[in-house]
Amino acid sequence: MMPATAEDDLQALVAEGELLWTRSADPGNPVACATCHRDPAKTRGWAASFPKFKPLPPPHSRVMTLLQANAEAVERHYRLHDPLPAATAITAFLTAQGAGVPISPGISDGQPIFPARMEQLAVSVGRGGRLYANRCGQCHHASTVAPSLTAFPRVVSGRVESLEGFLERHQSLGHSLTWDGPAIGDLMAYLASQMAGRPVGLPTYRASQEAREGS
């Protein structure tokens, strides 16, 4: 038997995300992501559109990464105490589904553009730029770090890792960041702003044909 490769592990993560997307983890409430968001033509552009301003009941609205938005939704709908593993798998699935779509923070194909949301995103990018300069800029040039946005979530030595989790653990100047906090949303919004037009996801990202085209 051949040992599992990193690509196999990634495909397993994508498959797990697809399962979580289509079936609720809460047996008491079978409303799943796909119950409302079942049209791949609409969700295919999601990965490319993050980070973006996510409207939530006040005062919770803010710029979020795809993982953060998924975690918020998974926590609310699936009632999971630790939403991170499920949110990471769903993020991998949506990244695979949207692989190749040009990155366009704040803008989803076929959806209206809301100026107030774009303004909030621009403010977040500004904050992220300052944060990057203070925390990361001394060691890493932003243009070389930004492409790593397309390489996450990933599986390294069998361990699933999101970029938000990596940034939380990565040693840098200043106070530590949390994967689900607004500062990481700002930081990734800044990096994504440098990637506009580049395709989402590494070539290793593949979703099932059904997920990409609909059943």
Binding site: N29, V31, C36, P55, P58, S61, R76, H77, P112, F114
Partner: protein, 232 residues
């Protein structure tokens, strides 16, 4: 000839200034509501003014048996359109309409797979406030959610005025993402000019997991909740 040229110049000037030629054109959000099989669904269409989920409820209307609805809004801009139909999970969608234009949307609703955790409207009532000589009437709704995760969507619609309301909870809730309590929700309605006609009032409740109650309309007698059989 000179008159024709002047009219043409005036029209060109209006266009150049960005002014609408047809002054006073209504701003309308209209649409059709269907299930996956293409069957039109009756229900309610309610709007939040501004960003979706801000809980600032504005206008609303009844969705007819033909699945169609039409809401005239005072100005263009951003709205949160929420569509409800008994037995179905409600649909929230952020929309943008330009002033003087009509936005047409298509809404597809899915049946709720089960109703065990669906909020229930136990009772609705209209109570004139005697201390203010009938100038105020309290509209009250007794609501219960089996799994205790009610959200701020305890909603009322007065079709006579086209006004939608989020009803006030039994105790003040600061965080709209918090679980709202079971109990009696109410709104205070100005009835100084006209009394309330209960026939005009419709109610619907949705929880944080999107489970949606059946719509309660006149005569406001709750029935067992609809279970839509899915035939695929």
């Amino acid at each position: 000839m000179i008159r024709v040229v002047l009219v043409a110049c005036l029209a060109f000037s209006l266009v150049a200034l960005g002014l609408p030629l047809e002054a006073g054109a209504a701003t309308i959000i209209t649409g059709i509501v269907k299930n996956e099989a293409g069957k039109p669904l009756a229900g309610l269409a309610l709007l939040e003014k501004g960003e979706i989920h801000n809980n600032v409820w504005d206008r609303g209307t009844v969705v007819g048996a033909d699945g169609r609805f039409r809401i005239e809004v005072p100005t263009g801009g951003q709205y949160g359109l929420h569509v409800y139909s008994s037995g179905h999970i409600y649909s929230p969608e952020a929309v943008k309409v330009e002033t003087g234009k009509t936005l047409e949307v298509k809404v597809l609703l899915d049946p709720e797979p089960m109703r065990a955790n669906t909020p229930v409207i136990k009772k609705a009532g209209f109570f004139p406030y005697e201390a203010r000589q009938g100038k105020v009437t309290f509209v009250k709704l007794d609501v219960e959610d089996p799994n205790g995760d009610l959200g701020p969507q305890i909603l009322a619609l007065n079709v006579a005025t086209g006004r939608a309301y989020a009803m006030d909870p039994p105790k003040r809730i600061k965080d709209l993402k918090a679980n709202f309590p079971n109990g009696v929700y109410q709104i205070e309605v100005d009835t100084s000019k006209a009394p309330i006609n209960p026939r005009d009032w419709h109610f619907v409740v949705a929880d944080h997991q999107c489970n949606t109650s059946d719509i309660l309309s006149f005569p406001h007698e709750p029935k067992p909740q609809n279970v839509i059989k899915v035939t695929k």
